[in-house]
């Protein structure tokens, strides 16, 4: 799956990254090399580190974030996902491994260079917003520009632009404490975008908001991304949120990556029981698309309708209920992929039922 990606398309590459807290964890790594062998070897090392009273926050984490994609890291609390995103910007210093930004090793950057990277290439949104309580909305958004030394007029113009973009015009004189949670996070988003970064980190940005607002903000976030095409690392503990947003996602557990893939890949082929647990709660018909089910071998009957591959199954149900033969599925370019009928859908959905009822003969 990863092999077909040309390296030019990769924005950020995380290679065998380890973060271990405790006394002198470097002694277990040869230099800063995180490549300790197979996945099994890594697991053995992680256990050994824990036996030595060290805390392993992330272990042997590898993934690529492609240009313009939303890459979601999903995991429960304590799975190491927040540590991981902080390693990517070196707010937290990784113990071992490599982080390549546009092919350059971030871990080799000097302090000065790192500040420069953060000033020009990265933006970050925080769970509890991380707004400066002493600055009003305008100055909060302008803050990253201020520390770069941009003059007052320019940075305020730029900040106003961003405030408009997130729909907060008119509130630029307010202080964070005077805003609702949703509004505060809009400020956080505007601030993170002020320097027009290529890489956008979002650490559980909507977790502190109530469900209705959260939904709204997710929609807005997707809208922004359609305009901006940033390369995004998005952290969440909410599997459904991950499914809604992700182009690709990684599931983390105990500091290790359990599985990486498109949301539908995870649902159809969960790597282990841990991943399957998550998928149990998911309304599959809302995640599976026609493309996931379409079968190229199914005979095409005259008069069959056709839909595009990214149509979710729930929207197809009424049509399939009335057309026994099924429907043709085309990809985005209009090329024929295969066909599917109601039974295919039932079979696909059935594969996700963990404990089927026993039916009497």
């Amino acid at each position: 799956m990863e092999s077909d990606v040309r390296s030019a398309d990769v924005k950020l590459s995380c290679r065998n990254v380890w973060k271990v807290y405790g006394k002198n964890p470097e002694r277990f790594f040869d230099g800063r090399r995180g490549d300790v062998g197979t996945e099994g070897d890594a697991r053995v090392l992680a256990d050994k580190l824990r036996e030595n009273d060290l805390i392993v926050a992330s272990a042997n984490v590898s993934f690529d974030v492609k240009v313009g994609e939303i890459f979601v890291i999903m995991g429960l609390s304590g799975s190491g996902k927040s540590t991981m995103v902080r390693c990517l910007s070196r707010i937290v210093e990784p113990t071992a491994g490599e982080i390549l930004l546009d092919g350059e090793n971030l871990l080799a950057a000097s302090k000065r260079e790192l500040i420069e990277y953060r000033r020009s290439k990265m933006g970050m949104v925080f769970q509890n917003f991380g707004l400066m309580p002493h600055l009003n909305v305008l100055d909060n958004v302008a803050f990253p520009l201020e520390v770069q030394g941009m003059d007052l007029k320019d940075r305020r113009t730029k900040a106003m632009e961003m405030i408009e973009r997130v729909g907060l015009s008119g509130r630029e004189g307010s202080f964070p404490a005077q805003l609702s949670g949703g509004q505060q996070q809009r400020v956080g988003i505007a601030r993170s975008l002020a320097v027009e970064p290529e890489l956008w980190f979002l650490d559980e940005p909507f977790s502190a908001l109530d469900p209705l607002i959260r939904r709204q903000m997710q929609d807005e976030f997707l809208r922004l991304q359609r305009e901006l095409h940033k390369s995004i690392v998005f952290i969440t503990h909410d599997f459904l949120e991950a499914l809604r947003i992700a182009d690709r996602m990684a599931i983390m557990r105990d500091g290790m990556v359990v599985q990486i893939g498109r949301p539908a890949d995870l649902i159809l082929n969960p790597a282990d029981d841990y991943v399957r647990e998550f998928t149990n709660d998911v309304p599959w018909e809302m995640v599976l698309t026609a493309g996931d089910i379409a079968d190229p071998d199914r005979p095409v009957v005259a008069g069959m309708g056709q839909v595009s591959a990214d149509t979710t199954v729930d929207l197809l149900l009424p049509y399939l209920a009335n057309h026994e033969a099924g429907v043709k599925v085309n990809d985005a370019g209009g090329n024929y992929l295969g066909a599917m009928n109601a039974m295919d859908v039932v079979k696909a959905l059935a594969s996700g039922v963990p404990e089927p009822v026993e039916v009497m003969a």
């Binding site: 500040i115 925080f126 400066m132 002493h134 803050f143 520390v147």
Partner: protein
């Protein structure tokens, strides 16, 4: 090995028996009644020699520093005296106005007008001048150490114990070395007040910087700040409120130390005015001057607090008020050139009600003499004397109206035994043993309890409440007091402070409970407590000395007046801030008001109340030293003797002794409160 659950009662009972036996034996063995004089190590001589050496070596350097430091104070005094009173008053009014609106402006205006009307303008300005110089110094020093302590864990580990020491050693005690090193002059007050005022700044700086949420710092880092930018643009502004609260506390500490330092005299400031008039029994004047101090304290407190709490405004319009303010000041200055009355307060406008007040007071004291005597005597005969010298001696025909016959003694013993027996059969063995101990000690009296017995009792109490570490520390501290030969004075301090704390705690908790149940009581108590807490300790003495004259009883009342405040505060705070769901649950179950209070609220508020007790003890010890001014014989008096004679050893021994007692009491009560908090999973905030 005795089983865990009966070990405590057995040991307490053993201690009671030990006290009794040693007391009986002390009649024939002198060494038990009084620690033999030739065993005393006399650290005072060593300390004095050390100090002499210091003066020899560093004296000139200190004198030079003192000489340099004196100039800014002189300049500040010159400036404050040169400026017309109207300009200074207007300045404070404007400060209050911009800080918190017209109420504070009015308060500041009335306060300054009072100083002029009453004729203490010059003295007030002298005091203010020292504060004006010492606060920025304390704030700068405190801020620097605070930042250092924030960034370096190692530095913090060195700084914190020093702060503890500076804040627990009674203020009077460290006037002494400063006096010896720097020699007489305003510098002593300045240096003492900087030393006393910078610790709160350090604490608040560290606290504020630590409390900045991690995400805000990370947001700063991700914005691409350099370390320097991160500190000045993110950390410090985000910690602004706490840091400014530090400035507020430093200012108050500085003022209170400047007032205390006036005891060494020669400064012609307002603190000296209070003291000298008090010594002349000119209580009217003393009260009037004391009122000036209280007003300065309250005005400075409210103004600095207002600026700390004020939200930062958008930088556009905020500048204009200062321009207006400057213009108003210039206007007033110009006017005062034309109208001399605005420049210097006219002599014949000065109003001095002191003689009238003295006359009225004298009349009142004479008129109410019987009542005053009755209160004083009954407190003395029935409470203070028995605890001090024991029921065995205190009960006599002269005091109680009857003699303590052997019959009555037997009756007393039977009563104590019966009470202990009752507790024992109710399965409260520890309580029973404590009743026994109490019975023995109150019969013998605290000052007559043989020193080995008292030593053992206190060390064991430390062990029970806070474990082995504190027990060892306590043993060492008590050994120091015994070997330094100040054991009798220490016991006297313990006795007076003990009574004061007990009364403060009982009465204060009762008032606190009442205030928590009644909004009206709470609303009445709040300003009274605020005033008592901001007032320099000195001033609290005045009304009590006026009525009850000099003596232990007066000191007791003054200590209670000050130490009762935290007991009230913490009790009310604890009762009002219980988890709402628990209260709702209890209501749903159907608790009556009393059941709610006794079964639910009070047990849950116990950690907070214990913390109140802790503060009551600390306050009590703090006030005890000041109260020594009006006649007590404990360690406080020793400190004065040291200060009066310039005897470093004597003063310092007593000072360290006081600090040691305060620290032991602090650790014991803290430990109890912390255990409760952990058990309940509650966290009590300081009030």
């Amino acid at each position: 090995m005795i089983a865990q659950e009966i070990r405590q009662p057995v040991i307490w009972s053993a201690l009671a028996v030990l006290a009794l036996v040693l007391w009986l034996a002390s009649g024939s063995i002198d060494a038990l009644a009084k620690f033999p004089a030739d065993w005393v190590l006399a650290p005072t001589a060593v300390m004095n020699a050390f100090m002499e050496r210091c003066v020899e070596l560093f004296g000139p350097a200190f004198k030079a520093v003192g000489w340099v430091l004196e100039w800014p104070v002189r300049w500040a005094q010159m400036l404050l005296h040169a400026l017309p009173w109207s300009v200074i008053a207007t300045f404070f009014v404007l400060l209050g106005w911009f800080g918190a609106g017209w109420r504070l402006a009015l308060f500041a205006g009335v306060s300054l007008l009072y100083m002029a009307v009453i004729g203490y303008w010059g003295e007030s300005m002298n005091t203010l001048a020292i504060v004006l110089i010492s606060v920025p110094m304390a704030v700068l020093v405190g801020f620097a150490f605070g930042v250092l302590g924030f960034y370096s864990e190692r530095a913090k580990r060195i700084i914190m114990p020093i702060l503890d020491l500076l804040q627990t050693i009674p203020a009077f005690a460290y006037l002494l070395p400063i006096l010896i090193l720097f020699g007489f002059g305003t510098t002593v007050g300045l240096v003492a007040s900087v030393l006393y005022a910078f610790p709160p700044m350090v604490r608040n700086t560290i606290l504020g910087l630590r409390a900045v949420p991690g995400e805000i710092v990370e947001a700063g880092v991700m914005s691409g700040t350099t370390p320097w930018q991160l500190f000045w643009k993110v950390r410090l502004p985000a910690a602004r409120k706490q840091v400014l609260l530090g400035v507020n506390q430093s200012t108050m500490a500085s003022l209170s130390m400047v007032i205390i330092a006036s005891i060494i005299g020669g400064t012609n400031d307002i603190g000296w005015e209070v003291l000298s008039t008090m010594r002349k029994a000119d209580f009217g004047a003393s009260l009037l001057a004391g009122f000036v101090i209280a007003l300065i304290a309250m005005a400075l407190d409210r103004i600095t607090y207002a600026y700390a709490m004020k939200p930062k405004e958008i930088d556009g319009p905020a500048r204009s008020p200062w321009i207006v303010g400057g213009a108003v000041l210039l206007g007033v200055a110009a006017l005062s050139l034309v109208i001399p009355a605005l420049n210097e307060w006219p002599k014949n406008f000065v109003w001095n009600p002191a003689p009238a007040m003295n006359a009225a007071l004298e009349k009142a004291v004479v008129d109410w003499r019987l009542w005053i005597e009755a209160i004083k005597n009954s407190a003395f005969f029935y409470v203070m004397l028995p605890i001090k010298i024991g029921l065995g001696q205190a009960v006599s025909p002269f005091t109680w109206g009857f003699a303590l016959t052997p019959m009555l003694k037997a009756g007393y013993a039977a009563f104590v035994l019966a009470a202990a027996g009752w507790a024992y059969f109710r399965n409260r063995a520890t309580l029973a043993s404590l009743i026994l101990l109490w019975g023995v000690v109150s019969f013998i009296g605290l000052t007559n309890t043989p020193w080995p017995a008292l030593f053992a009792i206190i060390v064991y109490a430390a062990y029970v409440t806070a474990g082995r570490g504190l027990a060892i520390g306590t043993a060492l501290a008590l050994a120091f007091l015994i070997l330094a030969g100040v054991w009798p004075q220490s016991v006297l301090s313990l006795y007076l402070c003990g009574i004061a704390v007990l009364i403060s705690f009982v009465v204060g908790t009762a008032i606190g409970i009442w205030a928590s149940e009644s909004r009206i009581v709470s609303a009445i108590m709040r300003p009274i407590m605020d005033t008592l807490q901001t007032m320099p300790l000195f001033v609290i003495l005045i009304p009590f000395v006026m009525v009850f004259k000099i003596g232990e009883f007066t000191a007791l009342l003054a200590v209670i007046a000050y130490a009762i405040v935290p007991a009230i505060r913490y009790t009310e705070h604890g009762l009002r801030n219980l988890p709402g769901e628990v209260i709702e649950a209890a209501e749903t179950i159907g608790c009556s008001r009393w059941q709610m209070l006794l079964r639910v609220k009070l047990p849950l508020a116990l950690p907070a109340i214990m913390l109140g007790l802790n503060q009551t003890i600390i306050y009590g010890i703090g006030m005890l030293v000041i109260a020594a001014l009006v006649g007590t014989n404990g360690l406080g008096q020793q400190i004065y003797i040291g200060l009066g004679d310039g005897d470093f050893g004597v003063g310092m021994t007593a000072g360290i002794g006081m600090a040691a007692i305060a620290m032991i009491a602090d650790r014991m009560t803290q430990a109890v409160s912390r255990r409760r908090q952990e058990k309940y999973g509650l966290e009590v905030q300081a009030v």
